[in-house]
């Protein structure tokens, strides 16, 4: 039996400032060592000043993952020497002397499998080491402290995962969740990082660290299962150890044995007084928290009759669901959901695309209304959308400039069909015997009308014409 547990680090990227000072939480793209102050580089005499907003955001994650929040929380020091750690201790939370971290004992359902969340803690991110070449072969290591003190939420699960696939599903849910809560942007590099621990049968626990991307954790876990199984089959004991993921070679490599595990000498950080988390604070947070992905999905299905799969895609992506919420009314909701989840695909998948997107919620509403009122066909709608995302022009302008108006008068459609029949004599004769060929003819008509022809009407006329031949 395979047992997998996760340690996920999620940066609270939506905060203005760091966890203990007023430097920017968004350290990316800043010149090296410019986003620093006496507090975050631990100069003598400086003291940490707790960012209360960070506590609130961490509490939101905790609530969303079904965790218990204690009546008061405390911070602890985790002591160890490392050059990226300015004070040579990290301010974090610790539950060994009772639950004082922002959350504990939560659970998440992943395809009917319950994943227990052991604890959630708020802590500071260290700085970043910059190597000349690789970390193993470098002769020069430089330190960039811009990231030091960035608010980080650590989420620790119980070893409840049985397959790497469950891990991937969980991580997807988690990424959607933190984005939906408005606490973190998981698409930013390093915003969501994950370490895993894995054991097979009764083997020792192996930790996997240094997994750069979200996708690689699944690969790393697969590799570890195979590696551990092949050791077990040959009767070789699996040592308890930490292994690093080698991204280039797609394998895990032994890092250091567990025996050398550091003694962190945790103790209470007296510079930060205990923070009372009143039940009224929790109630207020709950009230002001954005609607959960699950509740959105249920609402889309029940209120608008949106199919389950469409509702799932729509609710789990904050960008899509925000668009939907702003665009829809009760009548066009289903059509808008359709457009977003099928037609918008390919135009708004990446962050860059989303940033450059000219589409407004009004465009979506207009488009859905035009399709529902038979002003344009669904096919033409697709063409119009392509133009909208690029130019942002109003729909009416695009319909006339691209000549997308619906071809629904019988006589002109009949003429076009006659043209097709004369061009496709072979197909016409086949169509009498094989109904599949009719679709081919419909397609030809569509191409000729650039998708403007009403498909039902076209089919109707073709059938009649064939019958009369």
């Amino acid at each position: 039996m395979t047992k997998i547990g996760l340690e996920i680090h999620c940066q609270l990227t939506k905060l203005e400032s760091k966890l203990f000072c007023s430097c920017k939480a968004d350290y990316r793209s800043l010149d090296i060592n410019t986003n620093i102050c006496p507090v975050c580089i631990g100069l003598p005499g400086s003291l940490p000043l707790l960012n209360k907003k960070a506590v609130e955001k961490a509490a939101m994650i905790s609530i969303a993952l079904g965790c218990k929040t204690p009546p008061k929380i405390a911070f602890f020091r985790k002591n160890y020497f490392y050059p990226d750690l300015p004070k040579n201790f990290q301010i974090t939370q610790y539950n060994a002397y009772g639950p004082t971290s922002i959350g504990s004992d939560g659970k998440v359902l992943i395809e009917d499998k319950e994943i227990r969340v052991r604890r959630i803690q708020l802590e500071e991110d260290p700085g970043r080491l910059v190597y000349e070449g690789t970390s193993e072969k470098t002769l020069l290591t430089l330190i960039d402290y811009n990231r030091a003190g960035t608010p980080l939420v650590e989420i620790v699960t119980e070893p409840d995962f049985e397959t790497p696939k469950q891990v991937r599903l969980f991580l997807n849910v988690l990424a959607d969740l933190v984005e939906n809560l408005g606490v973190s942007d998981p698409s930013l590099e390093g915003a969501l990082r994950v370490d895993g621990n894995i054991s097979i049968d009764k083997g020792n626990r192996v930790e996997i660290k240094n997994v750069g991307s979200f996708k690689d954790i699944e690969k790393a876990l697969h590799f570890e299962i195979t590696r551990q199984q092949s050791l077990a089959e040959r009767g070789i004991p699996i040592p308890a150890e930490t292994r690093h993921w080698d991204e280039a070679r797609k394998i895990t490599v032994s890092a250091r044995s567990k025996e050398e595990e550091q003694d962190y000498r945790y103790f209470l950080e007296a510079d930060i007084p205990w923070v009372l988390i009143d039940s009224s604070v929790i109630d207020k947070l709950k009230k002001n928290m954005p609607e959960s992905i699950y509740s959105k999905k249920e609402r889309y299905i029940k209120k608008y009759g949106i199919p389950l799969q469409v509702a799932e895609v729509l609710s789990s992506d904050k960008f899509y669901s925000d668009l939907f919420e702003q665009a829809h009314n009760e009548k066009n909701a289903k059509e808008i959901a359709n457009i977003i989840t099928t037609d918008l695909k390919g135009f708004a998948d990446t962050k860059e695309q989303r940033e450059q997107l000219k589409l407004t919620p009004k465009h979506l509403a207009d488009l859905a209304d035009a399709i529902m009122n038979n002003i344009i066909t669904r096919n033409s709608g697709k063409l119009a959308l392509q133009e909208i995302v690029k130019s942002g022009k109003p729909l009416s302008e695009i319909i006339s400039s691209l000549d997308l108006g619906h071809v629904d008068d019988k006589s002109s459609l009949s003429k076009i069909i006659d043209d097709v029949f004369s061009e496709e004599e072979k197909a016409v004769s086949e169509a009498k015997l094989n109904p599949d060929t009719i679709n081919y003819l419909v397609g030809k008509v569509m191409r000729k009308t650039k998708g403007k022809a009403d498909p039902a009407l076209t089919l109707d006329i073709i059938k009649k014409k064939l019958d009369s031949k």
Binding site: P44, L47, R77, N79, K87, N88, F89, R265, F267, A270
Partner: protein, 355 residues
């Protein structure tokens, strides 16, 4: 660090009353500067008595405020859960004046407390009539010099003639306070001083060829013997396998001390004891016996472990060496503390410093 200033990087300070003697410590230099008339007032940091002890040895007033009353922003952290910045001055009135300036909320220190509209220099002369003063039994008995004990008795009689009601009170946990203090202080010091790794402040030797851990080891040798001793102790007592035996036990004693103090202040307005159990000693006399130096903190540490304010005022001279008397008050009761100190100060008639 330490009570004698002999472990200072810049060498020992000398006691203005007799320059062969230590000035007390660790803020010995601050006390000397006030005592030797070099300035009107100075600041020290009191973690286990480091303001009150040198104040006593140098015959000046030294106050350790309630934890959180004075900002620690800018103070190099040593044992941050117990240390406070406190004023030293030649009179109680001057001390109150400085406290007015340095106390209250500081947005750079989350542990600071709102003091309200208090003015410590007002109503200093209300006297001690009807005040209930507890004499801490554990601080006047065994281990206390005869002269110090005699001076303390005299002070207590004076207070009684002024109308105070003085009775002995036992604080049982005092006997564990030194061990508790050194366990907690060393643990915090080990962590607070960890940042001095010479990675961010430039290098003081050629780093070529050093691996990270080897570099750190060499850089950390810049610390003197007393600091090194406390950091080693501070790495040991909270370490896995020993944390339960030492550090967690110390935390338990600390909360026991707190509750004993709380109980005592239900019966008393103030507590009294000599600041130091001994007279100033000669430079070099105890430098090779760190443990005996640690034990001299016994009368001051309780205030730090429980967070309450305490003040030392000059009371007597014996063979040219000063003796200080110490008052304790409940948390945030600095005003009561200063009033009592002022009343006792008025009964003294001390010589000028011989320089």
């Amino acid at each position: 660090m330490g009570i004698s200033t002999e472990f200072s990087y810049f060498g020992p300070s000398r006691n203005p009353w007799n320059t062969d003697y230590v000035p007390g410590g660790s803020s010995g230099g601050s006390a000397v500067s006030v005592s030797a008339l070099e300035c009107i007032a100075s600041l020290g940091s009191d973690t286990g008595g480091s303001v009150r002890n040198p104040a006593s040895f140098c015959s000046v007033v030294g106050l350790k405020p309630t934890y959180g009353l004075v900002s620690r922003y800018g103070l190099i952290s040593y044992a941050n859960s117990i240390e406070q910045v406190g004023p030293m001055a030649r009179t109680v009135e001057d001390t109150a004046f400085i406290l007015n300036i340095i106390s209250g909320i500081d947005q750079h220190d989350n542990t600071t407390i709102d003091k309200g509209k208090v003015d410590y220099t007002k109503e200093l002369d209300v006297g001690v009539e009807g005040k209930r003063i507890g004499i801490i039994s554990e601080m006047i008995g065994e281990g206390v010099d005869k002269q110090v004990a005699a001076a303390t008795s005299k002070a207590i009689s004076k207070l009684q003639t002024l109308g105070a009601e003085c009775n002995e009170v036992s604080l049982d946990s005092v006997k564990f306070s030194v061990a508790t203090y050194y366990t907690i202080a060393a643990t915090e010091a080990g962590s607070n001083l960890a940042r001095y790794d010479n990675i961010r402040y430039g290098f003081d030797f050629d780093v070529e060829g050093y691996e990270f851990n080897a570099y750190i080891s060499k850089a950390r040798k810049n610390f003197g013997p007393e600091v090194t001793r406390r950091m080693i102790l501070g790495s040991f007592v909270p370490s896995a396998g020993y944390v339960g035996k030492y550090f967690l036990k110390a935390l338990k004693v600390r909360s026991k001390i707190k509750s004993e103090i709380e109980q005592a202040f239900k019966k008393f307005d103030l507590l009294i004891a000599p600041t130091s159990p001994v007279l100033p000693f000669k430079i070099g006399e105890k430098v090779d016996d760190p443990l005996s130096l640690y034990l001299l903190d016994i009368n001051t540490i309780v205030a730090n472990l429980s967070g309450i304010p305490a003040i030392s005022i000059p009371y007597e001279m014996t063979n040219g060496l000063p003796i200080g008397i110490q008052f304790f008050a409940n948390s945030m009761q600095e005003k009561t503390l200063l009033q009592a100190a002022y009343a006792l100060e008025k009964t003294t008639n001390l010589p000028g410093v011989p320089i």
